[in-house]
Amino acid sequence: MTTILIVAAYFAMGCFVLGMVPCMVRLWRGPTAQDRVLALDALYINGMLTILVAGILFNTMLYFDIALLIALFGFVGSAALSKFLLRGEVIEP
């Protein structure tokens, strides 16, 4: 019965890694800067999901902390980049 789970986990991992390709394309030739920030946002979500599925596959709880950190720092990066696009500086006096 575990074989089904292994196959599904590999399928999901392949989907997430394949989903990074459109994000990279949009990051490479997004016409505007906000398109690139959006592509980075989608990219870190896909990477985080890949790491979580790897944690299920390898049966360790270690990957969970890494995924939490990626989510946290990804949000900080996206918010800082958006704020920079909006105001021209990140932390205003």
């Binding site: 789970l5 989903g19 959006l38 979500i45 958006s82």
Partner: protein
């Protein structure tokens, strides 16, 4: 690799959830290159952000709760964090896009649509 033996009623729902999450995240990412303007594109990755993350984390909770033989609820943290932060990012990004478009692209890198 998984070396334990999962019962039927955990392995099957977890597998279905993982497949659904993969298809949803792939669809959302493909929307990034399929859709034509930025205001349409900002809708696409939210599918992976909400449903994809939710499905993967529910599957992870089920599998780890069986293997560790105690309820594992840490994954709710990630769901909570993402559900709190991704609307904030989307709103900031949308406001930045509206502002930059109204400015007429004079802050742009010269390659407007």
């Amino acid at each position: 690799m998984i070396e334990y033996d999962l019962p039927f009623w955990i392995a099957l729902p977890a597998a279905v959830l993982l497949v659904v999450a993969g298809v949803l995240a792939l669809t959302g990412s493909l929307g990034l290159i399929r859709l034509s303007s930025f205001y349409q594109r900002i809708h696409a990755p939210t599918m992976g952000n909400t449903m994809g993350v939710g499905c993967v984390l529910i599957a992870s909770m089920m599998v780890f709760s069986w293997t560790q033989s105690r309820p594992i609820l840490h994954e709710v943290l990630i769901v909570l964090l993402l559900f709190l932060t991704s609307p904030v990012t989307a709103m900031l990004l949308m406001r930045a896009a509206v502002y930059r478009q109204r400015e007429g692209g004079k802050h742009d890198d010269g390659r407007n649509e």
